[in-house]
């Protein structure tokens, strides 16, 4: 087969000889990226400016609606308290997310190995998912001695289902002919799982992870609201409750902003992980030039 080898090699060489159209860069980033950064930024600044102006012109008292400048100042002034609380909430969030990944993936793999197990247990996972967490949080807080543990359980309940259901879907999404091929080569269950089912499930798992990251944060905050723990080791939700009772509304807003920004950061981080893991092969991560 020398002819095609020559031709293919020549084609490849010819393709490499063509100059790649290099995109001009500005401040180190490709020019086409900038509108995606600037457009939302401009809208954000515009809305904040209008908000500030509206508050000033109408003399809205800060305990009804503080302007963004006041919120920003509060954020700086109360940073010590708020950042300590943020850390508490984030710790619960990440522990819950880690537990959701571990248990979600483990259950999905178990279900893929035994249909009986899936049929027996999946309905209860769904029950857990559709029951509102606010309704069961008080029970969990009563049952679990440790408040941290109960918060963790609540956040985990909210976060784990998307990972479980997406990974279950992904594990059965492998190309049917590839499954046949593995059968043909006498692959063991473990080999089929490792070389075929797990890689095929990766994009699905990552889609679940993106959802679960945000849900873990929401679960942690909701559980804190229900638990209402005081003291130094309390999370952002408690700070919001506390500030609300004391009519320190700027502080409520500052804490809210921290929660939102954390959620955005988690989403960006999971998106980045997903992009890095899939960019070489998966359709969703490809940039089309045509």
């Amino acid at each position: 087969m020398s002819a095609p080898e020559d031709t293919l090699a020549r084609e490849a060489a010819a393709a490499e000889a063509l100059p790649v159209p290099a995109e001009p860069r500005f401040l180190g980033l490709p020019v086409s990226i900038w509108p995606r950064i600037l457009a939302p930024l401009v809208i954000g600044v515009l809305v904040l400016a209008l908000w500030e102006l509206a508050v000033r012109w109408n003399d809205v008292p800060p305990y009804v609606l503080p302007g963004p400048l006041l919120v920003g100042r509060t954020l700086v002034e109360d940073w010590a308290t708020l950042s300590a609380s943020l850390w508490v909430t984030l710790r619960i969030t990440f522990l819950a997310l880690a537990a959701a990944i571990l248990i979600g993936v483990a259950l999905a793999v178990l279900f893929s190995q035994s249909k009986w197990l899936e049929m027996a247990l999946l309905p209860y996972a769904i029950v857990l998912q559709v029951t509102p967490i606010v309704a069961i949080a008080p029970l969990i807080i009563i049952w679990a001695d440790d408040i941290d543990l109960s918060l963790l359980i609540c956040a985990w309940i909210v976060a784990f289902f998307p990972i479980l259901s997406n990974t279950i879907l992904g594990l059965s999404a492998a190309d049917h002919n590839l499954v046949n091929l593995f059968e043909l080569y006498g692959a063991s269950r473990w080999q089929t799982l490792r070389y075929l089912k797990l890689p095929a499930a990766l994009p699905y798992f990552l889609a679940g992870l993106k959802v679960s990251g945000g849900l873990a944060l929401i679960g942690a905050v909701v559980a804190e609201f229900v638990a209402g723990t005081g003291g130094n080791a309390s999370g952002l939700a408690y700070r919001i409750l506390e500030a609300g009772y004391q009519l320190k509304i700027p502080r409520v807003f500052a804490a809210l902003a921290m929660i939102s920004l954390s959620g955005v950061a988690i989403f960006l981080a999971t998106s980045l992980i997903s992009h890095l893991l899939l960019r070489r092969w998966h359709e969703t991560a490809l940039r089309r030039e045509n």
Partner: protein, 253 residues
């Protein structure tokens, strides 16, 4: 002694369809056989049963010359699907290595053998390319390399080039014949193209549909190597006419 012997093989699917009825077929070691027929004639089903994917409902498929202990599953059999069926998350080399990996060969040896096989199908230099970076024809070459990396005694192909354009298909036909001449495997090639079956094979088994059955077994007595000269010869045209006639019979009025 044939390599594979099918006796009275039938296949009925769960929905009641009789896909294959009472097939007797001997495949000799080293020969190139095409299974030619209209869609729905059970040629793919037959091929998959030879591969061991799905047991026949009746009849036997015997491998008289096969030493089961020495071979084990999949060791002396390569299968090429109509789609390249590559793992999108693995590069070309890792895809070709798959059968060796599943046999737990040492990694270094597996890599070396897979790289050699990629070079043999004309893809030297594309080891680290991912399937999405390859053209349809190149993906099919990777798929063929994967099927041949175990140096199987028999290569089963299920309409492998049907989805490719004609120029690519001709080139892959020639390269397949060159590989066959070099590696001396038994080739079973499922196709619905008269021209492809005549160009490639020593023997054409024509099948008819509803129920799937063999209606003719035509020898193709033309010398190898075959090339464009053969493709334009009167002999080729004559053979195509015979095969076409049989295929017309298979399709019916």
């Amino acid at each position: 002694m044939p390599l594979v012997a099918l006796r009275g093989v039938s296949k009925r699917f769960g929905n009641g369809t009789l896909a294959v009825r009472d097939v007797d077929l001997d495949l000799a070691a080293g020969e190139f056989v095409s299974l030619l027929g209209p869609s729905g004639c059970g040629k793919s089903t037959l091929l998959r049963m030879i591969a061991g994917l799905g047991a026949p409902s009746a009849g036997t498929i015997a491998w008289p010359g096969r030493d089961e202990k020495a071979t084990g599953p999949g060791r002396d059999l390569g299968f090429v699907f109509q789609d390249p069926t590559l793992m999108p998350w693995a590069n070309a080399l890792a895809n070709v290595m798959l059968p060796l990996t599943l046999q737990r060969l040492p990694r270094a040896e597996a890599e070396q053998r897979a790289a050699a096989m990629l070079a043999l199908v004309g893809l030297k230099g594309f080891e680290t390319s991912y399937p999405r970076e390859l053209s349809g024809g190149m993906k099919m070459r990777v798929s063929i390399a994967r099927a041949l990396v175990m140096r199987p005694r028999i290569l089963l192909m299920d309409e492998p080039f049907a989805a490719l354009d004609e120029i690519t298909r001709h080139r892959l036909n020639d390269d397949l014949l060159a590989l066959w001449a070099q590696e001396r495997f038994t080739a079973v090639f499922v196709t619905h193209s008269v021209f492809e079956s005549v160009y490639l094979s020593q023997r054409i088994v024509v099948m008819a549909a509803r129920p799937g059955r063999i209606i003719a077994d035509l020898p193709v007595d033309a010398a190898y190597p075959r090339d464009d000269l053969f493709r334009t010869s009167g002999e080729y045209a004559h053979l195509c006419r015979i095969a076409s006639g049989k295929l017309k019979e298979a399709i019916g009025p």
